[in-house]
Symmetry: C2
DNA sequence: TATTTACAGGACCGAATCAGTCCGATATGA
DNA sequence: TCATATCGGACTGATTCGGTCCTGTAAATA
């Protein structure tokens, strides 16, 4: 999380963007201090050690997507819209980067040119689903839990029960 | 695969780049016609309906990464370096886009600023591993197999036996 | 040997995306 | 009324992406 800013490695795949990176750190911070009613951008920026405009931008999008609730005016700020157990990493990533789709046809059906002899569609959908599941099985509660197992097999993760069985994260946008 | 070129959607996460897109289609084509000894760029470009320079570029990288073997000179071309069952999607993606790492610390350890109180490291590694597994469980043989199940649960995929238990795809670079 | 075919490697450029900043408007509390 | 803070969006420089092209080298054929 929050990569160093001097070196640029950048030749790896599926890396999430910096704002997403920031956003998840910020959410973890908010989840870790539930006693504070509203966090304003300046305070969060101080805690996370990031410039205020950036934090502000991230907070705004998170609020717009319904992951945070905002309170305007003096003494205003942000607070979590749901319980940490009900906020999945899939929700966070979706809010900050858009829907998960490794292939075009995974976001909107059939943009593929050779739709007819595209024998590749099935396998990609499967892989896409696995990724979705992986992100949906980890919640903000896990992120802020120091006892979260650092060594766990993929099968074990996917075998866990989903957190909220009913409606896993549709938000009022 | 091979998205239409007119509309640009592009606000989704984990989408693979076009060259990777092309590359996998090309590999599928090569795997589907094993009787031909060597495929040259022009022929492949015709089959896949893509400009020759692009196909050439993709083929070159695939050869350099060891997924294809190349034969220079007249009557030259490319052919698969391994059996389709031994070539995983993880190999393809790694060759065309680099290593899978959603977070910086998944590619090189500890570039995270707040390494001390980074409670987020563990969960991210887990998610990263699940993605790797998903890609490693699907092979070129699956891609060209019309009977590949289009509906299959993530658990079933990860439950499958890895194709080659010994040395899952290190290549002579 | 001369010629043709086809890969190897890399330079190159325009387009699109990303990261970060800033501004005017609005809402709330004192 | 004033200070504070979010809201929405515009804006810019840096980077990456997608695609083309050029020079060199290896192999086959006549
Ligand atoms: S050290 Fe890897 S996410 Fe912080
Ligand atoms: S239709 Fe989705 S990959 Fe071809």
């Amino acid at each position: 999380m929050i990569r160093a800013s001097i070196p640029e490695v950048s030749d790896s795949v599926f890396r999430l963007s910096k704002i997403t990176d920031y956003g998840i750190v910020i959410l973890a911070h908010l989840g870790r201090e539930p006693e504070i009613v509203t966090h304003n951008a300046r305070e969060v920026a101080g805690q996370v050690d990031l410039p205020v405009p950036v934090v502000s931008k991230v907070l705004k999008t998170l609020a717009r997507k319904g992951l945070l609730e905002s309170q305007r005016g003096a003494k205003g700020g942000y607070l979590l819209a749901r319980r940490p157990e009900d906020l999945t990493v899939a929700d966070m990533v979706a809010a900050l980067e858009g829907p998960l789709a490794i292939t075009e046809c995974n976001v909107a059906p059939q943009l593929c040119q050779h739709e007819g002899h595209c024998a590749v569609k099935g396998p990609w959908k499967v892989i896409n689903d696995v990724m979705k599941e992986a992100l949906a099985r980890v919640t903000l509660a896990d992120l802020i839990d120091p006892s979260f197992p650092s060594e766990i097999t993929p099968l074990q993760i996917l075998g866990r029960l989903p957190r909220s069985e009913t409606g896993p994260g549709v938000h009022h946008d």
